[in-house]
Amino acid sequence: MGKQIVIDPVTRIEGHSKITIFLDDKGEVQDAQFHVTQFRGFEKFAEGRPFTEMPALTARTCGICPVSHLMAAAKACDALMAVQIPRTAENLRRIMNLAQIVQSHALSFFHLSSPDLLLGMDSDPAKRNIFGVLAQQPQMARDGVALRKFGQQIIEMLGGKRIHPAWVVAGGVAEPLSAEKRDKIIAMIPDAMAIIQRTLDWYKTAFEQFRTEIRTFGNFPSMFMGLVTPHEEDEHNALLEHYDGVLRFIDASGNVVLDNVDPARYLDHIAEAVEPFSYLKSPYFKSLGYPNGIYRVGPLARLNIIDRPGTPKADQEWTEFRALRRGVILSSFHQHYARLVEILYGIEKIEQLLNEPNILSKHVRAFARPNKHEGVGVSEAPRGTLMHHYKIDENGLITWVNMIIATGHNNLAMNRGVAQVAKHYVKGSKLKEGALNRVEAVIRCFDPCLSCSTHALGQMPLRIELLGPGNELLDQVQRG
């Protein structure tokens, strides 16, 4: 029997989790497990509710990315009604979804990860937080706050409130966009653009010092999955897509394994495994089986699977990003970089959409009764592909729900990433603070949203326990 180290809870992530590191008799790290310790139960208590309540209900899975759930839920409802929603409604939903991605990526990069990136992985944990960043580089902290504000204000302007806006509804959106609000958002774009360009410039000079982390933070071959624009006519023209589109799977060498997959048919290719150590299920690619069917989703996956983003500035940055190494980018550390490229894309795309000729159209909602008994809605949340799948009875009441949340798709990869980092940094039976932080930091790369992914309860300070061969406690670190 080897030793165990337990990190409980993991900090600066969204949700509650702990990590166990298993040591063998020689004190070498053998394996590690990432436990998601909260349980929510959304899939169960949605049963019996009218389907039209699902966007508002499932948005409560998360206070950070309610918009993502609104998107997937509303799309699943559109599918139940079997309607094509007005083009303007689709574009308005796209704008809100991108605003959500910008604000959430900004939260992940600036508020949660920039303390590691700016102050260093081994810096004093008492200062390794957003306030430490504020003390050392006030401009960067302000930029983070401003960029989140940019995203959140767009969400508020469109939906009436920042968190859980009730504006995204089955069949479209509740209210059209006014010219006044459109102009206000357009006026906010230059500042947001300046921030992201400044941050990209800084990051491109800063990340070099994290060579060891890049090599060891979830850096392994795996498949990648995400939505891309439909591209049946031209197989080399799959663009970045966050709202709709088709699923593409690529392997670790960049070969397209599956393309143009109708998201409604996700169950043909993905199955979910349950492990006793976590409330978070582990989806895997069916034809490779469990656990070999490991795949990653999220910013890195999205930038890996596309042929180009599709907006001028992001196209340039993406080319530079993909030149980091030949083939696909495998290190999860580069999720940070990928997030910045996606923020840039998001800002450009929001501007494009706001300048669409029909964006102020008053026709923003399709009305229908439920016309199908089953509906799937898939969209890209900041963390990756989000799937909502509902079945209803003849009266439109929910009889069955399946939600696969982006963080779930990444579960196998996060486990492997934690093991990889632990193997590199944890040595012997004494825990070093810097090692502890790195084990957490690899999780932060994935920016997991655990409350969402278990859609199911939990607490947030951090504890690592190092257990000896007889499970005796050798060392313990606690914070929070």
């Binding site: 019996g48 009218p50 039209t52 209900l57 509740a174 009764r369 009441l397």
Partner: protein, 242 residues
């Protein structure tokens, strides 16, 4: 009002919250208070429907009475001294509201009536900021069998406005109440799915008078169920026709 009726009604004088007021003998304490701009909270009461004192939120203190009296069904008497806003009343009213919330599954955030709900706004008005009683979490179903409307019993406060409007205004008496205490429930016809009711005319009056999100139009998303105030006009026009 016809003149002969007027003759037989005498005028009563009383005090509400120390203010001298006069009223016709057929008036309730609530009527007189409202005429004089004195606020008494109500939930089940609705102008145009017979008051029944179901919700007890309009309880008032009357000097000499051994118990609190519901203002909506207590007729005025000469020299009555009524208090509408004592500490005891404030306490009990909050308690009543909290019990209403604890009794069923009121989840405002996802409710179709969020922002347009009389229970919600009354709780805000009376300063209910938490519920001191354990929630009962009853397992109640949604009846979505009707073509256009649905009934979510999780949100029902048993005010019986739907029962009264269906009986008194529409004349169909599709709605009624079954059971006692916390197991009481509004039902359609002989406790059958709303969609199979032979008597329901699908007029939608019940949906319009529902103070919460219990009865709603299908297809409405969270916060979208707004109500129209049709009843005062309807009653006025009917009175004129008589």
């Amino acid at each position: 009002m016809n003149p002969s009726a007027q003759k037989t009604l005498s005028v009563k004088t009383l005090q509400i919250d120390g203010k001298d007021v006069s009223a016709r003998e057929d008036q309730t304490i609530l009527d007189v208070a409202r005429e004089n701009g004195i606020f008494i909270p109500t939930l089940c009461n609705l102008d145009g429907l017979t008051p029944i004192g179901a919700c007890r939120i309009c309880l008032v203190e009357v000097k000499g009475a051994r118990r609190l009296l519901p203002a909506c069904i207590t007729q005025v008497q000469d020299n009555m001294e009524v208090f509408t806003n004592s500490e005891t009343l404030v306490k009990y009213r909050k308690m009543i509201l909290e019990l209403l919330f604890a009794e069923r599954n009121h989840v405002c955030s996802v409710c179709v009536a969020n922002g347009h709900c009389e229970l919600q706004s009354m709780a805000q008005k009376l300063g209910v900021d938490h519920i001191r009683y354990p929630y009962l979490y009853p397992k109640l179903s949604v009846d979505a069998s009707h073509d256009r409307f649905a009934a979510d019993h999780n949100r029902c406060i048993l005010c019986q406005r739907c029962v009264r409007v269906c009986d008194e205004i529409e004349g169909a008496h599709t709605w009624d109440t079954m059971g006692r205490g916390t197991s009481a429930q509004v039902i359609t016809d002989l406790n059958q799915p709303w969609g199979t009711s032979e008597t329901c005319t699908s007029c939608g009056k019940c949906v319009q008078v529902c103070p919460t999100g219990t009865l709603f139009e299908k297809g409405r998303a969270s916060g979208e169920m707004t109500k129209r105030e049709f009843l005062p006009y309807l009653t006025l026009m009917r009175e004129e026709r008589e």
